[in-house]
């Protein structure tokens, strides 16, 4: 039995991103393509997303240009590729508050958003720090926090204090504290609905960017296969590594079940196609009786 179909939908990409930004320690090793994606969990009469990307209007446009993001497309067009509209999305799990994950909540008028309390509390605290510590605030758009106020007023923001099992049947929210950000979530989908499950998929958020974070090779250490943390940690690389171990343990160390959304090679690993907007749709798994969106 498979409860859900899972997709990773590209909404834009950076053609050349420093490899050292993706993999800690990969200095002077050139550039990699960095897709910007969100994940969709689609049930029979229900759909949820992991993160919402950013909005390419107002300041989002500037940020996109700054990061050299190409072919940005709105959720309306991206979701249409799998037969959904933004209005169909009922829940969104915000893994963390960076602009490219929390920056487009207005596009989903019927969704309830889930985020960690510590993620919000600590960003607010960080804003009280002196100017010389402002690096800590990299990637945070105060406009997103403001839009969060509006969500809260509308009772569409659920603030969690720690992990939560079965937020929806078979879907668990887990937390890696002081890692990529203060309280970065990942999403476990037990697609057989069982606990323990033999059919778990982990949607890693930014705790894992690409396959090398799961199966890396260190030139410096001369080790061929090890976890390598992502290049950006507000917290610590130690916590990123321990989160990777926790995710891998959940999937019985079957690395292909940990899904890194910034990984362009998902297109070679899972059934995928490229849309007319030059963006990739990857189908991670299919629910019972669901039709393929990429076949």
């Amino acid at each position: 039995m498979s409860l859900y179909s899972i997709y990773v939908l590209e909404y834009g990409y950076v053609p050349e991103y420093d490899k050292s930004g993706v993999i800690y320690g990969a200095h002077n090793e050139g550039y990699v393509k960095l897709p910007y994606c969100y994940a969709v969990i689609k049930g029979k009469d229900w759909a949820a997303m992991v993160d919402v990307g950013y909005n390419d209007k107002d300041y989002g446009k500037y940020l996109g240009n700054l990061f050299n993001v190409k072919d940005w497309s709105p959720p309306k067009d991206v979701l249409a590729e799998i037969g959904l509209t933004p209005e169909d999305i009922k829940a969104v799990f915000i893994t963390h508050a960076h602009f490219d994950h929390f920056g487009n909540v207005e596009a989903f008028p019927n969704a309830t958003f889930y985020i960690q309390k510590k993620e919000l509390q600590d960003w607010v605290w960080a804003m009280s720090l002196p100017d010389r510590l402002r690096w800590i605030l990299s990637g945070i758009d105060t406009g997103d926090i403001l839009r969060g106020v509006q969500l809260a007023r509308d009772k569409r923001l659920v603030v969690l204090d720690g992990p939560m099992e079965n937020v929806f049947p078979g879907i668990d929210l887990k937390v890696a504290y002081d890692s990529h950000t203060w309280a970065c979530m990942w999403v476990s989908v037990r697609n057989d609905g069982q606990a323990p499950s033999s059919d778990t998929w982990v949607l890693a958020g930014d705790l894992v960017y690409q396959f090398e974070n799961l199966h890396g090779a260190s030139k410096q250490l001369k080790i061929e296969d090890l976890y390598l943390p992502v290049g950006l940690a507000t917290g610590s690389q130690f916590n990123l590594i321990m989160a990777t171990e926790a995710m891998m343990k959940e999937v019985g160390y079957e690395a292909r079940r940990v899904i890194p959304v910034h990984e362009a090679r998902l297109g070679q690993t899972f059934p995928s196609r490229t849309t007319k907007h030059n963006l990739r749709v990857s189908e991670i798994c299919l629910a019972d009786q669901a039709s393929s969106a990429v076949g």
């Binding site: 300041y59 700054l66 919000l120 509390q121 804003m127 009280s128 100017d131």
Partner: protein, 181 residues
């Protein structure tokens, strides 16, 4: 130096960090009027402080609305916001805007007054708990207006940016930006 070179790309602007927001740097990247460059350079930390005040106020409201606001933390954060506001207000008062930047400067002065008024409103938290309260509505409208004002006053090349990546190095900063510098 040798060890550090092994870490950062040789073209990484991290090597220039102390000068990057300075007036000389702004002249070098195309702000030909030195008085404007000096104005923007002095203004950068003030603009950042305004942004952080706005973020703190919005964050406090968000935590209040979601019943996650710890009273002690609220007090500390609110005090910090007020301190930053006093400091940035003093710094802005001490700043002499050159001709050609007067309108920009007056806009920022108006935004500081809006921030001060917002901080006063935020003092009355019990009036802001009810999601339907008129006080909350007024404060949220004010904060969005400040946000729009900050967007209008942004000058990202000079570091006046609603979302700051200028302090990021080659490990987290886009290639295109580094090439500009």
């Amino acid at each position: 130096m040798t060890a550090a070179l092994a870490i950062h790309d040789p073209n990484c602007s991290t090597w220039d960090t102390p000068a990057e927001s300075g007036a000389d740097h702004l002249v070098a990247i195309g702000y030909h009027d030195e008085r404007i460059a000096a104005y923007l350079s002095t203004l950068r930390p003030v603009y950042d402080a305004m942004k952080r005040c706005l973020g703190q106020m919005a964050g406090l409201l968000l935590l209040l609305q979601t019943r996650c606001l710890d009273p002690h933390r609220a007090g500390v954060t609110h005090d910090a916001t007020r301190e930053i506001l006093v400091e940035l207000s003093d710094r802005l008062r001490a700043l002499k805007a050159p001709e050609g930047a007067q309108r920009h400067f007056r806009g920022l002065e108006a935004l500081v007054r809006q921030l001060e008024a917002g901080a006063e409103q935020l003092n009355r938290q019990k009036d802001l708990i009810d999601p339907a309260s008129a006080d909350l509505d007024a404060l949220v409208r004010r904060l969005f207006a400040i946000q729009h004002g900050l967007l209008a006053a942004a000058e990202p090349r000079a570091g006046l940016s609603p979302v700051d990546f200028t302090a990021a190095c080659c490990t987290c900063r886009p290639r295109s930006t580094r090439q500009e510098n």
